[in-house]
């Protein structure tokens, strides 16, 4: 029994080492590491940060990036009231229809709508961005090696290119982007937004906030998941303990 546990834990350890080794790719630069409130066993999203992050997204990123998987109604998860959500949705217009005459019309957004794409299609997006395509940000945090830390590092990683670096015309130097040349100009500058809760809008602060918001956008069920997980595992621990006791009892009757 002890031997089995030993070999099993050795196997788990080995495979984790193997896998983490196998997956460590990326730009080769070590990312900045932030202690996010929502990581860890009990972590929950920092509501205030996520709300500020929504503001950064709306006022800065949304002119180039979509967030098409996220419905306005789900913003209630972040502590917005139903009315606030309706108000946020209303800021956007959508094509409705056809009406009884077969005409399409414009209508304002409803809570069930999802964030609209800023461009009609990929070609239009590329045309406005010097040929580069700004990806949808709904899943961006889960879609990059390094997750939150990558996004935060990217946002704060704009620098002047080293003298010997051959930067293509129209590109920008970013320490953390693979290859260091990114078509997106540094999106965030100091005071780019004005926070209503009085938080000082530094590049660092806004980068953290938008990262928390996009982490939530990518994994909105994180809190429900961990909450259920703790209960399930606690239950399983008790149940397994019982099984162990019963097993001991039944086997002890065997000569």
């Amino acid at each position: 029994m002890l031997k089995l546990i030993k070999s099993l834990s050795a196997a788990v350890l080995l495979s984790v080492v193997t896998l983490s080794g196998a997956q460590a790719s990326g730009g080769g630069v070590e990312l900045k590491s932030v202690n996010w409130q929502h990581t860890g066993l009990f972590g929950t999203y920092d509501r205030a940060a996520a709300q500020r992050g929504l503001q950064v997204f709306q006022e800065v990123c949304a002119s180039c990036h979509g967030l098409k998987q996220v419905a306005f109604r789900t913003l209630q998860d972040l502590g917005f009231t139903e009315d606030e959500v309706k108000a946020i949705a209303k800021e956007y217009t959508f094509e409705g229809g056809p009406d009884d005459d077969g005409e399409m019309f414009e209508r304002s957004g409803k809570a069930f709508d999802k964030f609209p794409d800023p461009f009609a299609n990929e070609k239009a997006a590329r045309a406005s961005n010097g040929g580069a395509f700004p990806p949808d940000l709904s899943l961006i945090v889960k879609a990059r090696v390094g997750f939150e830390n990558y996004l935060y590092s990217l946002m704060t990683g704009y620098e002047d290119a080293p003298a010997d670096f051959d930067l293509t015309e129209g590109m920008n130097y970013n320490t953390y982007f693979p290859g260091h040349q990114i078509a997106m100009p540094s999106p965030i500058s100091d005071e780019a937004v004005e926070y209503s809760d009085g938080t000082k809008a530094t590049v660092d602060q806004m980068s953290k906030d938008v990262t928390v918001f996009l982490a939530w956008a990518a994994e909105p069920k994180l809190e429900a998941r961990k909450h259920m997980g703790l209960r399930v595992i606690l239950f399983l621990l008790v149940l397994t303990g019982l099984f162990f006791a019963v097993k001991k009892k039944i086997w002890s009757e065997l000569k």
Binding site: L4, K221, M228, F243
Partner: protein, 412 residues
């Protein structure tokens, strides 16, 4: 304890279809060696995982859309809008990994204790068939969410068939249902991904039938000789397996609830794009050893043949291993070789996840060579020349020996 039902309904059914008697037989009359260790739990765990995959898979299918324009979004719909959809999807995705963990441990258990030897050759073969079907199922399942790795993994793997001389190209076109991985490919993969698990269920039934015909092997590798050596499956192994299941579920839930994406690849959260090739195309971790073998050969056809060969040689194991002793417990040299072989497989897994550059190419080649050397050369030779330790006269003697030596150790 032969089956004589008292309940009239049971009796009525059983005289017409002796199914309850069959179950009774499997649970109470099937004599099980009394010395099975926890390494014998993984078979029933694999069965549990198959059921988990089928149940979660059926629920996912109710909400999933197999179309290139909608598949990715439909998975996100499951993750966000479907009640407990995230739970089903993470259970299914992590469940596939857990299924492979369990089956790999199950296979290595068989290698260690010589469970593939006569009279269990067919049992071993059926297990390998299940393994092959699982690989096909998991490969096609991974294509369904239609992320970047789905698409490019499917492209790389299906292209392998193009290496077959003369008909290769036509076979690939036939597999794709067109001239690239596209909507017809996704549709047929979904259809087959739904079908194959039920084929697996069928083979599992044969596997268990064969098992109940030959009886379980055990850590000593010697057969049951008399009543002393065996106990009924129920309640002894039902309760032992339940305890094992509990421990396993805790580990499974650890991944499922606290690190559901750690075994996946971030690129699969990027929608498939035939115009953008990912920097490194890597399959799921459970395919990495075979991927390493595939890439160990510079020639495509050679690589493909070696990869399939890696599994084919396992079918020949009952004849390659010449030793008449089953369990590595009594085979001092084979025991060392077993652990080296295991490490070799871990090295292959590691290399399979690395880009094709030095030093990984060289390591991959050496590890691949060793894989085949172990099975094709060392195993037959060791079987012929190894001097095994004395075998206990019976299972119960070995159990008694163990007990007394433990007591002596305790008294000392």
């Amino acid at each position: 304890m032969s089956f004589e039902p008292k309940n009239p309904v049971v009796k009525w059914v059983d005289t017409r279809l002796p199914i309850i008697g069959m179950l009774h037989h499997a649970l109470y009359e099937y004599p099980t060696p009394k010395n099975l260790s926890y390494w014998w739990t993984f078979g029933s765990l694999a069965g549990v995982m198959l059921v988990v995959q089928i149940v979660t898979g059926i629920v996912l299918s109710m909400h999933y859309t197999a179309h290139v324009d909608m598949a990715f979004d439909s998975v996100e719909h499951i993750m966000r809008d479907v009640n407990y959809g995230w739970l089903m999807r993470y259970m299914h995705a992590n469940g596939a990994s857990m299924f492979f963990v369990v089956v790999y441990l199950h296979i290595f258990r068989g290698l260690y204790y010589g469970s593939y030897k006569a009279p269990r050759e067919l049992l071993w073969w059926l297990g390998l068939v299940i393994f092959l079907l699982m690989m096909a199922t998991a490969f096609m399942g991974y294509v369904l969410p239609w992320g970047q790795m789905s698409f490019w993994g499917a492209t790389v793997i299906t292209n392998l068939f193009g290496a077959i001389p003369v008909v290769g190209e036509s076979i690939v076109t036939w597999l794709w249902g067109g001239f690239s991985v596209d909507n017809p490919t996704l549709n047929r993969f979904f259809s087959l991904h739904y079908l194959l698990p039920f084929v697996i269920v069928g083979v599992v039934i044969l596997h268990i039938w064969a098992l109940h015909t030959t009886g379980s092997n055990n850590p000593t590798g010697i057969e049951i000789k008399d009543k002393q050596d065996s106990i009924p499956f129920h309640p002894y192994y039902t309760v032992k397996d339940l305890f094992g299941l509990g421990v396993f579920l805790i580990i499974f839930c650890g991944f499922l609830f606290f690190a559901p994406n750690i075994l996946g690849h971030p690129d699969n959260y990027i929608p498939a794009n035939p115009l953008v090739t990912p920097a490194h195309i890597v399959p799921e971790w459970y395919f990495l050893p075979f991927y390493a073998i595939l890439r160990a050969v510079p020639d495509k056809l050679g690589g493909v043949m070696l990869m399939f060969g890696a599994i084919a040689v396992l079918f020949a194991l009952p004849w390659l291993d010449k030793s008449r002793v089953r369990s590595a417990r009594y085979r001092p040299i084979y025991k060392q070789l077993f652990w080296i072989f295991l490490i070799d497989c871990i090295v292959l897994t590691y290399v399979g996840g690395k880009p094709a550059e030095e030093p990984f190419i060289l390591i991959g080649r050496l590890a691949t060579a060793y894989y085949f050397i172990h099975i094709l050369i060392l195993l037959p030779l060791v079987g012929l020349y190894e001097k095994h330790k004395p075998l206990p006269a019976s299972i119960s003697e070995s159990v008694l020996d163990k007990k007394t030596s433990a007591e002596e150790a305790g008294n000392a």
